[in-house]
Subunit: 306 residues, 2 copies
């Protein structure tokens, strides 16, 4: 991406708008297409806060890029040097969007899909040049969360995309093969299953489980990953020692984890538990606290992770 | 706990030494009993660093308390106002220790077990006064991690213990009923199972999985818990909207998670993966980076969590 190159953002929901804020904060002009007119009109106002948040996290940013609200997909992608797709998670819809992009966009420009729940092989099946497509899944909200999970069959294209995301302060990671939920949402689902299980089984309340995570493993995992944590928990012998001495007890512990259902009774407990944890604070208030926390942690951790 | 009261720490391994450092940094005198003489002699030197780290996290600390290396369990607990037990995770050993404590310690003083993998009912079975025992599981290392997970049948005693831990800058959470692994290790095990599964299945390498966690969900969970994260990810309708619209897809996602074994091939992949992630850095270097990160995040997050 050279200076002055235009980025097309297709789909202006939460994810698309957040990506657009990130691109603009780093000086790129953005052409954004959102088919719903009410949503589209709200974007210029909604994007101001996120652009300001990026500036809290990064120093030495250039002047923000400009936003062009495109009238059509073709208008957005014509002349684009990068295309980030964020339309709803429906295979036929995304395939139709890629066909339209292949017709209108410059040949060879990368199409990066933000898909969270679909995989490359499903999405690329009808493309004239499937190698143009990569999956590049951000963690919500993309302008505050550094993670971008990447997969594509063309290694050089994936590496070039990673370099672009790194230039925006992102931290790309790479899958060896495609998987539903990529990496992070698989980890999140696995943890939340047990969090739900403990509520369903009456082991602990919602707010206590959240507090245990935030002041325990979540705090640790903001600094070191789960594998590395076991390496450092194994004493001088590291993970090799851990696996040989405590591997069997870990396997027994796995057997003790639950397989909850999200039935009506469990859902009611979750809703009531969140109400108790929120303590009357509305979602906007909680989101603002979350965002301030995410910014504070990232500022604190610069250069401090193993 | 009044000023000048003495705390008995039974077992001077990693956990006992870290607790002792925390107690001393907050001005309490500690009587520590460790039966292994070589280990016992190393403690006065090993404890200096952790005491200094507590001071990096807390302001307004009093002058540190004194350390008495006790010659016997009886010496340690005689006159103690609080007893924190950290001996190896063996039921007969812990039961024998509690019997000795009940004979030698002042009547009614709380015995708090740091057990990570045993539960209250197993541990208390032979006690003259089982109500004296609580489980108070810290997250390693206790002097840097705020979490203490608590369970006991005597609600007033548990609440008094929680007040004591809060006075040391800890964040106690409460189980409604005892559970193997309490809360945090159940969450950790559940997440690590899928992290191992992705390595075993060749979806991603160890270092990429750790990076995805640290820059994605781990970062988020240092600020907001897993339940709250779904509340904030559900739009204006919160977790109720999330559960009714995406509950079924979450249940399908749970079905797609793996059930790995820690067999020789998977263990070899984990060990090799950690070696690649460590990149030649030894455990002491990585631990120092971890500790600096944990301190930095907690300083940054004061007053910033929802």
């Amino acid at each position: 991406m050279a200076k002055g190159d235009r980025i097309a953002v297709i789909g202006g929901g939460l994810i698309g708008t957040s990506w657009a804020a990130l691109f603009m904060a780093w000086g790129h002009d953005v052409a954004l297409f959102e088919h719903d007119e009410t949503s589209r009109k709200a974007i210029p106002r909604a994007i101001r806060g996120p652009i300001g948040q990026v500036a809290e996290l990064a120093s030495g940013l250039p002047a923000p890029g400009r936003l062009h609200l495109a009238d059509s997909l073709e208008d957005a992608v014509t002349g684009a040097a990068w295309i980030q797709e964020n339309v709803p998670e429906k295979v036929p819809l995304k395939r139709a969007i890629y066909a339209a992009i292949e017709t209108a966009a410059p040949a060879g420009v990368t199409i990066a899909s933000s898909t969270s729940s679909l995989v490359w092989s499903e999405l690329s099946a009808d493309m004239a040049d499937p190698s143009r497509l990569i999956t590049a899944h951000p963690f919500n909200p993309p302008h505050l969360m550094p993670l971008v999970e990447m997969f594509g069959p063309d290694a050089a294209r994936v590496q070039a995309a990673a370099a672009f995301y790194r230039s925006l302060g992102r931290h790309p990671v790479f899958l060896r093969r495609e998987a539903v939920g990529h990496i992070a949402n698989r980890l999140s689902s696995a943890l939340w299953r047990e969090a739900v299980n403990m509520v369903a089984e009456g082991i602990a309340d919602v707010d206590q489980i959240d507090a245990a995570l935030v002041h325990g493993p979540g705090l640790r995992w903001s600094v070191v990953g789960a594998h590395m944590a076991y390496h450092l928990g194994g004493g001088a012998g590291g993970i090799g020692h851990y696996l040989s001495h405590l591997g069997p007890s870990q396997e027994r512990r796995w057997q003790d984890l639950g397989q909850p259902r999200l039935d009506a009774a469990t859902c009611a407990r979750l809703v009531d538990g969140i109400a108790a944890e929120a303590g009357g604070r509305d979602i906007a208030t909680l989101e603002a606290l979350r965002d301030a926390g995410l910014i504070a942690v990232q500022r604190a951790l610069r250069e401090k992770r193993p």
